[in-house]
């Protein structure tokens, strides 16, 4: 039998994480909890460099991450002032005055092999009033500010739903830091002055800090944020620019006091003249930000527009962030793996930033590197991350492109721009036959695409012909019954009240 050099391995992989933001500490915590005996993890961060920390809204996947680490939900929510999140409410995207919720969950149930939305589209086209929202438990619960964790019952006819959190990202990193350091990660304060590389392989050998300390490692994880100090600056991995499709390149962010009343269990994304504005309710405050295109709006105007929209007094000076949509062509090059913003950026319209960090960590653990890295591991990692980025990219572009808005230069641009072929064929398939291109790996499966297509007014002209078979009145009665069951299930839920919150 072939014996591998690391079967009884005594050499521990030396991992150096550069950057102490959400990405850095999530990576450190996961490595400490799940790969503790295999590696020595050092994280270097600098207080001089602030953290972006705008990723305040999350996707349900974060729950699996916390569970894997053994972090209790209540502890996490109390520490980060978190609230429950059932989805995102998009306002004024398809046209001014429109709004819809993209929930974590599905619409209705399939009937006779045919997905629910075909029946709804048929009756909608035939004049039946009311949005598809009434058939998604998550949407109805969100609109009524009610929440209870899903507890599937066998005979429950109502569609399933899931949930995520809205939380203070600046408190998440410290929580993870305590967690990671208690499990052997050493955290260092320092600024990188120089990156030492191997002359023959080009791999990074060590980070030299400004005070002269030298951090040697086998694997370097670049969590340096937009700066991409290792993957971008040092290894010069080419940048793939997506700003032609996603023109927003700035954000101004400010928290404000919570308005009175029940805390909304959803994030709001409100379309603005040159971009969109987020509203993320936490237990103790509301996070706000205006994501805009600097080609269409000045920083000062963006700042004023954001401040004018606040529902309570601002709790800080508005902070300006600059970014560009796109990614490094590969996320793992040589012995450098970039996690988070150092590998790429997609605006927070669908709360994907932390998800992308998590996806990279999951893949890193699956391809957990030995002191000597195999190209197979790199290739497997990069293949998985490619699929994630491209699918999310198309989904985000859809939010801008699927609009009839003609009121500003920004919206005219995104409405009329050429989109990637991969997206235009998806949209045409939907328009013609109400079918969603199928993939089984990655984010945003059929219900998500249905939510955004219908929410932004792309109602197909054709649908599955089998949905035309049931008589209209019988179908309507069944739809009414389902909507009533959804309402009843939601009515049995309490009003949204995060643990530790006093809403």
């Amino acid at each position: 039998m072939k014996r591998s050099f690391f079967m009884e391995r005594t050499i521990r992989t030396r991992i150096v994480i550069l950057g102490g933001g959400t990405a850095g500490w999530m990576t450190a915590a996961a490595l400490a909890a799940l790969a503790g005996p295999l590696c020595d993890v050092t994280l270097v961060e600098s207080a001089e460099i602030g953290i972006v920390g705008v990723g305040e809204a999350t996707l349900p996947h974060l729950r699996a991450f916390l569970a894997r680490l053994g972090l209790d939900e209540r502890t996490f929510m109390a520490a980060t002032h978190a609230t429950y999140k059932l989805g995102i409410r998009f306002e004024d995207f398809g046209r001014l005055g429109d709004r819809y919720i993209h929930p974590f969950g599905s619409y209705g149930q399939p009937l006779n092999d045919v997905a629910f939305h075909h029946y709804w589209i048929r009756r909608h086209r035939q004049g039946r009033p009311g949005p598809i929202d009434a058939f998604a438990t998550g949407v109805v619960a969100a609109e009524e500010c009610r929440f209870a964790p899903p507890s599937p019952q066998a005979d429950d006819p109502t569609p399933s739903f899931s949930y995520a959190y809205q939380f203070d990202a600046t408190l998440f990193a410290p929580l993870l830091r305590r967690f990671a350091c208690a499990r052997g990660v050493s955290g260092l304060e320092g600024r990188v002055a120089h990156v030492e590389r191997c002359a023959s392989s080009g791999d990074v050998r060590a980070l030299i800090l400004a005070d002269g300390r030298r951090l040697e490692g086998d694997l370097f994880i670049d969590c340096s944020g937009f700066r991409s100090l290792l993957l971008g600056d040092t290894l010069a991995e080419p940048w793939e620019d997506w700003s032609g499709w996603l023109p927003c390149d700035r954000a101004v962010a400010v928290p404000c006091a919570s308005p009175p009343g029940v805390v909304e269990p959803f994030t709001r994304a409100i379309a603005m003249p040159a971009g969109w504005r987020w509203r993320i309710p936490l237990q103790h405050r509301v996070g706000n930000g205006y994501v805009y295109s600097s080609a269409h709006l000045g920083d000062e105007e963006a700042r004023s527009a954001l401040l004018a929209a606040l529902e309570g007094p601002a709790q800080a000076e508005p902070r300006l962030l600059r970014f560009r949509a796109g990614r490094r062509r590969r996320s793992w090059v040589g012995n450098v793996v970039a996690v988070g913003l150092a590998s790429g950026f997609l605006e927070p319209l669908e709360s994907t930033s932390i998800y992308l960090v998590q996806a990279a960590i999951t893949q890193l653990l699956e391809h957990f590197p030995d002191p000597c890295i195999s190209p197979i591991d790199r290739q497997g990692f990069n293949r998985a991350i490619d699929a994630e980025y491209e699918r999310i990219r198309d989904f985000l572009i859809l939010h801008y492109h699927a609009t009839t808005r003609d009121d500003t230069g920004f919206w005219r641009h995104v409405r009329t721009m050429a989109v990637p072929d991969s997206l235009s064929s998806k949209m045409a398939l939907w328009r013609g036959a109400a079918q969603v291109e199928r993939y089984g790996f990655g984010l945003f499966l059929e219900p998500s695409w249905v939510a955004v297509y219908l929410g932004q007014g792309i109602v197909p002209d054709g649908w599955d012909c089998r949905a035309d078979v049931p008589a209209a009145d019988g179908l309507d009665r069944a739809l009414d019954r389902l909507a009533a069951a959804v309402r009843a299930r939601v009515a049995a839920m309490p009003h949204h009240r995060p643990p530790g919150g006093d809403a």
Binding site: M1, F6, D113, R125, L365, Y439, G440, R466
Partner: protein, 465 residues
Amino acid sequence: MSQVRTPLRSVAVVGGGPVAAATALALAGGVPGLSVTLVPAPVAPAALADHWPLLLASAHPTLLRLGAEPAGLIAGGIARRRTATRFADWGVRNTAWRLGDGRTVPLDLPAEQLWVRGTRAGPMPPFHTLVPAAMLPERRAHDDLVDPALWLRPDVWTARLAGTMRAAAVRVSPAPLANVRHAAGSVAGLVLANGMAVAADLYVDATGPDRRLAVAGHHWQPWADVSPVDRLLACPDPYAAPFDGYRAVEDGWLGWWPGWRGFGYRAALTSETRARQLLEATAPAIGPIELVPGRVDALWSGNVLAVGDAAAMPGPLGHFGLTLAFQTIELVLELLPSAAPEPLLQAELNRRFALRADRLRDFVGALHRANGRRHGRFWRSVASAPLPFTLRQTMDHQARRGYLPHFDEDMMAPDAWHSVLLGQECLPEGDAMPVLHVQPDEARSRVLALTGTGPSAAVGAGGAR
């Protein structure tokens, strides 16, 4: 307002075996108002899905569309259960290994990773001892981990389907197909032997490898590199075990299926005379049947949809053809075509079918050559052919740490992939993350306790007979 799509009004399914009948029935039952005509046409012996109908459990839900369910078919003598496939003299060390029709025992850690970890400490029982279905009938198993496949008796089943078709108002043409009128990448109409014409919105080609309705888009992509058998010689055999068997020999493999013994080989390497000697037929043999494993470029081209061996032929090893055919039927019902041409819907259907067929091709490739048997000219020729990129990728990743990369539309479960690769002793060079904290000795004793076997059972896998 009504919709822009015109419902499919009529379909003509051409073929003469279970694949054609099942397609006609599933369409008639699944699409209200659709008029379905079955146009008889003989299917050649090389239509393996029709003549050797085996259905993996994943395709059993489609049986319900045909008014049948596994228990009833077994009780009626139409089907029999298969719980495993046993391979002998396989791979580089003449290994005996099994592929169970079922799941691996659930543990708190992935069983395959724990097994691999245990191999670092000493000899282990074969991986299939962790798959209860593979240990039947010698060792009784928990039923919930066994998902038996079904072998159907083609003649009886075809007769049964004919009866169901009458009840389901599938019209059967009074005369068989004589001619196909083609027009610009499509079929313009069918002419029957009695001179009658049949026209439909959509034509389904279930004529097996003859592909009598093939249009320009149905160009054939051969899979000879990964599914190398191009001749099958078979003879009746009293074989009646609840598992299939394959034994590698220098010129190819001998296979045992209920009532049959077969020999798969390559015409360029082995003469028919030699093949007959190796088969040791005691009764008149059928064949040699000429096979061209592969798939069509586009499942649905013009107004013609292919299904069964007309769409893809995975080859005789494992007899996966009917399962793929049933999955194709489900795909067609999911993305139901309309009467008018719809290029994008067509592209989506073709894309998903191609992913599915190619992934099955990879699985058949892994069965043939995952652990490189080199002795014998057949196996040398197999080992020297290039691997498709996706199979290479799977094997590289498995070899690295035991993980399997994800592929959409894979009809074989990860458990089956693990069985095939670990069964042939493709041992990962390193261990997977979740089991690294388990000492190899401990992993080994956990597996040994679980399988109730000592290492002495390691060679007890048995051959085909």
